[in-house]
Symmetry: C2
C-alpha cells in the first residue's frame, strides 16, 4: 500500500538518524500524528532550540553561545581547568561520561565518529589539524599529557594507535584509560581478555 | 555535568516517544546539532508536513485530507471494498502489514494500543462505541464478519477475548487470524505452542 507523502518523507528523514530504522520511523510518524498538532508544535520548538546551539572551536563539544563572539564551550573557557592535559574522545556522550566522574580537570577534544577501516576521515583530519595548531600556538608545541580515551574494543584499539601516532609529537606524555575488571564486577564472570588485561596492568 | 537547556528539553521531549530512551535522545541531539542548521530546518519541515495529516473518522488510520470536508481515509472511502467485513487491528503498522498481503478486501478498524491489564482504555472504549454506532447505522446492526486481528501472544489472546466479547452482538461471524507454522518455517524448529496450534487448526 502507498503511504501518504508526508509520512514517506518523515520516514526518509528519520531513518537517516543514528540507530533509527525505517520501522521505528514509521511507528514514530503514526505516534506523532496521533499525539495531535499541539505536540507536533512542541517537538518543532525543541528542534528550533537546538538550532541556537553552537560547536566549540577548541574541543568540538556543543554549547549555548552567550553572544555572537562566544566561540568556546564552558569547559574550554574555564580558566580553573588544566588546558595542558587533553582527553581525546570519540563523541560527546563519552565526554559527558568522563565529566560525570568528577575526576578530570583537564580539557577535552572530540575527534568525531571513527571509521572501521583504519583511516581517519576528512572531518577527523581537519579536527586534528586544528588541535595541533592550538597546541603549537597556545601550549608552545607540546601538551603535558594527551589521554587517548577511545573505547577498549578491537576497532577502538586500532583507532587509538592511529591517533597516538598522529599526536605523539605534540605531547610530552601519551596515555590511554586503565583496563581491568569493572568496579563491582566479579573475577569469575570476567571474560579472558578483560582478566588478561587486569593481570598485565595490575596495580 | 549540566547539559544546556535546549539539549535537556530535546531529550525530555524525545524520550517520551515510543522506543526512544534518554540515551538515544541524547545521541540524537548531538547528531542533529552537528548536522547543521539546514538539516534541522528539513527535519522541522517534515514535522510540519505531518501536521497536515488527519485521522479517519471510521477506521482511525491516518490519511491526507483532500479538503476540509474529507474525513475518511482511502480505504474507508473506497466503494469497491466490502464495508461489511471489518478487520480489527491494534495499530497502524498492523493495518499496513495486512494490506500488503493484497488478500483482504474488507475495511479496517484500529482500536489503538491495548493495555496489559485486561481492561480497555478510555480511548479504546470511545473508538469501539464509534464502531458500534457505525455498524448500527450503516450495516443495519450487524457486520458480516469481524476479524479480530490481534497478535497471537499471551496478552494479545487476552485482549482478543475482550474485544470479541465487546463486538459479538454486532456481527454475524467473529474470527481471528489463522495460527500455525509460518510459511517457509520448519517443523523441527517450531516451538511447541506454534506446533500445537498448527495441529489443532490443521487444514
Amino acid at each position: 500500500m502507498n503511504l501518504p507523502d508526508p509520512i514517506k518523507n518523515f520516514i526518509d528523514h528519520f531513518s537517516k538518524l543514528p540507530s533509527i530504522g525505517p520501522r521505528q520511523a514509521t511507528r514514530l510518524s503514526f505516534f506523532i500524528i496521533n499525539s495531535g498538532k499541539k505536540e507536533i508544535e512542541e517537538i518543532k520548538k525543541s528542534f528550533e532550540e537546538l538550532e541556537k546551539m553552537d560547536i566549540c572551536e577548541d574541543c568540538f563539544f556543543v554549547f549555548m553561545p552567550k553572544n555572537n563572539a562566544d566561540k568556546k564551550c564552558n569547559i574550554c573557557s574555564d580558566n580553573q581547568r588544566n588546558h595542558k592535559i587533553i582527553a581525546v574522545v570519540e563523541k560527546e556522550t563519552d565526554l559527558i561520561s568522563l565529566e560525570k566522574t568528577n575526576k578530570f580537570n583537564g580539557v577535552y577534544f572530540i575527534v568525531g565518529n571513527l571509521q572501521k577501516n583504519g583511516m581517519l576521515g576528512v572531518e577527523q583530519k581537519n579536527r586534528l589539524t586544528k588541535l595541533k595548531n592550538r597546541i603549537t600556538k597556545e601550549l608552545g608545541g607540546q601538551a603535558e599529557e594527551i589521554i587517548v580515551a577511545i573505547n577498549p574494543t578491537t576497532y577502538g584499539d586500532f583507532n587509538a594507535t592511529i591517533l597516538s601516532k598522529e599526536l605523539k609529537d605534540f605531547t610530552k606524555k601519551i596515555t590511554r584509560l586503565g583496563r581491568g575488571i569493572p568496579t563491582g564486577g566479579e573475577i569469575e564472570f570476567a571474560d579472558e581478555d578483560t582478566l588478561g588485561n587486569a593481570l598485565e596492568r595490575r596495580i
